[in-house]
């Protein structure tokens, strides 16, 4: 047993502690010490490092528990706040990306035509990015998203959501149409062989559907952009919008700087993924709300990732990013609905009559009331009482007065 080698046991324990970080904090708080006890008890004599099987098992189980807790994580108050922040930043990022595309269209189309004429082999800027000459529709889409941003900020969340939905539906239909025709006709992605009958639909399909889907559902299901602004403030909101626009707009910004940039090379595509990941990490990941925002916004990375992974020629893999875009745009919905259910639950509980704890838990009344007064905890509604009760029980647990960890124990104010 490791007890024969205290130094080795200490090393092993430290390594197991590090491994247990794979588990969510709440699970660690409840199970860490007993898990460590079991892990050390089952260790071989003189063992100093966790075995490969044990390591894989702990990492996999930690991941499974984390995934299992995602619905609760999203439905928590911070999940709702994150959705509100997304409803603030996602429409703005979509609008900026549309503007960037338009700028690329205006500045690079003449150059592109000249380049295509000069060299028939290989296109430097993809056809869908530039699109056919139907700039008018792109302007309409752009104005629609500007309206979404402005309406959201002025408190007309539902109208903003409706416009976002119309644009999103058109974009999804356009993408679906493109996908079907491309698969049927086996067309190339390149501008010169792109099926002409799709041209009228392309401006609608230029909308980044995953971000647009995030924007539409967060506007529909969250408290709205004004709440998001109250949470993060103007300065951080602008930083987030600028950072995410730079990350997601990377393939548009680079051709503006260097029109001959090989944006369909694998290295560039990987750089694009990295740019988005860095932008999400730098601008969003701060605090529990920021981490949830990052998690939601990171879904926008999926189409870029799908473009970056295949090593084959672009025309052959074109349906993959479109398919992934469609899938990711759909994936956003259940996630948002879970967050919304948390909000609905909170509203329902705010609407119901507060419980009287003198009746609910008469025997502990005096002690609990004294605790609330001493700690100056608000205790006038059921929700406040639920938190105060947990805090009281937590103190009792730490002092050893009760054996059950409070958050798993009985709370008379918690809905069953």
């Amino acid at each position: 047993m490791p007890a024969r080698d205290p130094a080795g046991a200490a090393v092993l324990e430290r390594r197991y502690r590090r491994l247990l970080r794979c588990y969510p904090p709440a699970h660690r708080a409840f199970h860490r010490e007993e898990m460590l006890g079991v892990l050390l008890a089952t260790a071989r004599p003189g063992q100093r490092t966790p075995g490969l099987g044990q390591t894989v098992n702990l990492a996999a189980c930690g991941l499974v528990i984390r995934v299992r807790r995602i619905p609760g994580w999203l439905a928590a108050d911070a999940g709702q706040d994150a959705l509100a922040v997304v409803s603030l930043i996602a429409p703005a990022v979509v609008f900026i990306l549309l503007v960037l595309q338009a700028v690329v269209f205006i500045l690079l189309v003449p150059q592109q035509a000249a380049m295509n004429a000069a060299a028939s082999a290989g296109s430097v800027v993809p056809g869908l990015l530039l699109g056919p000459p139907s700039f008018g529709k792109s302007v309409v889409v752009m104005i629609a998203w500007l309206a979404v941003v402005v309406l959201g900020l002025t408190g007309r969340r539902r109208t903003a959501a409706k416009i976002a939905f119309i644009s999103l539906t058109l974009a999804l239909l356009a993408l679906l149409l493109v996908l079907v025709v491309l698969i049927q006709q086996d067309h190339s992605f390149y501008f010169n062989t792109f099926p002409g009958e799709l041209f009228p639909f392309l401006p609608f399909g230029d909308v980044p559907v995953v971000l647009a889907s995030l924007a539409a559902c967060s506007l529909a299901l969250s408290p709205g952009p004004r709440r998001g602004l109250a949470i993060v403030g103007w300065r951080r909101a602008c930083l987030m919008i600028a950072g995410l626009s730079a990350g997601f707009g990377f393939p548009f910004i680079v051709p503006l700087v260097n029109p001959a940039a090989p944006i369909w090379d694998l290295a560039f595509r990987l750089l694009d993924v990295l740019a988005i990941a860095v932008a999400v990490a730098v601008t969003c990941v701060r605090g529990p709300v920021g981490r949830r925002v990052a998690g939601l916004v990171a879904t926008g990375l999926l189409p870029t990732l799908a473009v970056a992974i295949p090593l084959r020629e672009v025309p052959a893999v074109f349906p993959v990013p479109v398919l992934v875009s469609l899938f990711a745009a759909m994936l956003v919905w259940p996630v948002a609905i879970i967050s919304w259910r948390g909000r609905a639950e909170r509203r329902r509980r705010l609407a119901e009559r507060d419980l009287d704890f003198t009746v609910v838990y008469a025997e502990a009344y005096a002690e609990f009331q004294a605790f609330c007064t001493r700690r100056r905890l608000p205790a006038s509604s059921t929700r406040q009482l639920e938190r105060a009760w947990d805090a009281w029980q937590d103190g009792r647990y730490r002092r050893g007065e009760i054996s059950q960890w409070p958050f798993y124990g009985d709370n008379p104010f918690r809905p069953r």
């Binding site: 007890a3 699970h27 199970h31 010490e33 007993e34 898990m35 460590l36 006890g37 079991v38 892990l39 050390l40 008890a41 089952t42 099987g53 044990q54 098992n57 702990l58 996999a60 189980c61 930690g62 499974v64 528990i65 299992r68 054996s403 059950q404 960890w405 798993y408 069953r416």
Partner: protein
């Protein structure tokens, strides 16, 4: 209760996983701590299944959420926390149902093997 019903409904659709069955069986004899469950489960399975620590605590977390097991008591042994778990009434009911299901399947298998043996020797 609702979650437990969902769990039971789910369990009725597909058979209980082996680690879950072993853990519930180990706890049927009385409250046990983690290491005790691992050694007992190994004995119950005839040494075939050895639960990994991660698997055990993932299953315990799930079973506790479903109300099938609950913490019983805690004690400190060799400076380490030991938490004992016990089977709840719902857990015992579910284990009973699963035992019956397995017994019925085993009976059918035994009957068919007997018939096959009888056919072969005839």
């Amino acid at each position: 209760m609702g979650r437990w019903l969902m769990y039971v409904y789910d369990m009725k659709k597909r058979s209980m996983q082996e680690p879950t069955f072993l853990i519930l069986t180990a706890l049927a004899a009385g409250p046990q701590h983690g290491y005790g469950i691992i050694t007992d489960a190994e004995g119950i399975s005839g040494g075939v299944t050895r639960l990994q620590t991660g698997t055990l605590y993932m299953a315990l977390d799930r079973l506790r959420s479903a109300g099938l097991v609950e913490p019983d008591r805690e004690e400190i042994a060799d400076g380490r926390l030991r938490r004992y778990y016990r089977l709840t009434d719902e857990g015992a009911t579910l284990l009973g149902a699963e035992t019956e299901r397995r017994r019925a399947s085993a009976a059918v298998a035994a009957q068919r093997l007997r018939a096959r043996l009888a056919g072969g020797t005839a």
